[in-house]
Symmetry: C2
């Protein structure tokens, strides 16, 4: 394992900002983008269930339609890669079993060894307390992915803009997600900041550590 | 700006896993922890409003009580630093104005220059469409923090375990959050994996990029 220093980490997180204007001519290199796709798939999730899909929009015509459903913001059109984070709308036993079958395959263990784990998942998110709010549970998981993705991009010197100002139902329609079992939760534009983005050099506004972090 | 390579990033994200058993003797060094607190504060949020507090629990007695409200999981007691992510339960104009006053101070601009921004925030999360679900909106923001925190820790070679299996109301009671305007959303244990954690060497289970990432 080779980690990085705290200075490098904080430098990247300070450098990051919600990019308003992307350089529409610059594209993320394919090998860098491949790494970022892998980082998305590596996102931690509740029970490891990965209740999401990541839709990467590269087609200019589709991007143009998404701009119209993004409160008029230009980022979906101007960025290099536009990612829509979609969450599962429901969770059934079949999905859990498919995840467990993959676990058995990857780890070389028997399904019997995972019986307790299966019962816990089914008794919680399929039939238990969280089953009534699976959509919101999945949406929260998608936000873990969003957080990890923005940090990962910053470390690779890729700019991002998280976008909640979108119309999920319209995104679902444009992306063909209706009836797929997944629905748009949030989106994130990725690419390179324009030198004309006046926010690129703006000081970061954060409440103090003393106010936001309480130690007990 | 000095970024890192994609290999270093992916190495850290592959190394990370939900640590079941922490080495209860090892503590995160103060300077490393300070950097992680700063990384928490740097988390991106909707409109930049930072609707959260991070409660770092170091007191052994309090940790013991949290174990009881964590479905019996030992991580709150065994880890080095236990972080509770609390989200705002409501949002008022005063909070927005306090954030805007800070923005004016940090960036040396006048409140008048932020009038449109203020109207947008108030018309959305205070009085508009999102005001009815501010708690969930804040919870999602806390999950961005969780995602960035776990990635940051992995890059600094710190182990983590995200914990949704907790009883938020009991956490609120133990931590004195009741009536504070903040409520427990999720938690994360941080520290160093025990060499006895059998999950430390387990292969990672992820659906394939081809299945999880759709490019259109």
């Amino acid at each position: 394992m080779n980690g990085i220093g705290a200075t490098t980490l904080l430098h990247a997180l300070e450098w990051r900002y919600a990019t308003k204007k992307f350089d529409s001519e610059r594209r993320i290199a394919p090998e860098t983008w491949s790494a970022l796709e892998r980082s998305l798939v590596l996102t931690p999730s509740s029970y490891g269930l990965q209740p999401w899909r990541f839709v990467v929009v590269t087609d200019p015509e589709i991007r143009g339609r998404l701009v119209k459903h993004s409160w008029g913001q230009a980022q979906p059109g101007d960025c290099s890669h536009f990612v829509v984070f979609a969450g599962k709308t429901s969770l059934d036993v079949e999905y859990v079993d498919r995840f467990l079958a993959l676990t058995c395959e990857v780890r070389g263990i028997s399904p019997a060894a995972l019986a307790g784990y299966r019962n816990m998942m089914v008794g919680d998110v399929v039939n238990g307390p969280r089953s009534a709010s699976v959509g919101e549970w999945a949406a929260r998981q998608a936000y873990i992915a969003l957080g990890q993705f923005m940090a990962s991009c910053a470390l690779l010197e890729i700019d991002t803009c998280p976008m909640e100002g979108i119309v999920p139902a319209q995104f679902d329609s444009v992306l063909g997600l209706e009836g797929s079992g997944y629905t748009t939760v949030v989106a994130c534009a990725a690419g390179y900041r324009s030198t004309q983005d006046k926010y690129g050099g703006a000081a970061k506004v954060r409440f103090s550590i003393g106010e936001m972090v309480q130690t007990v």
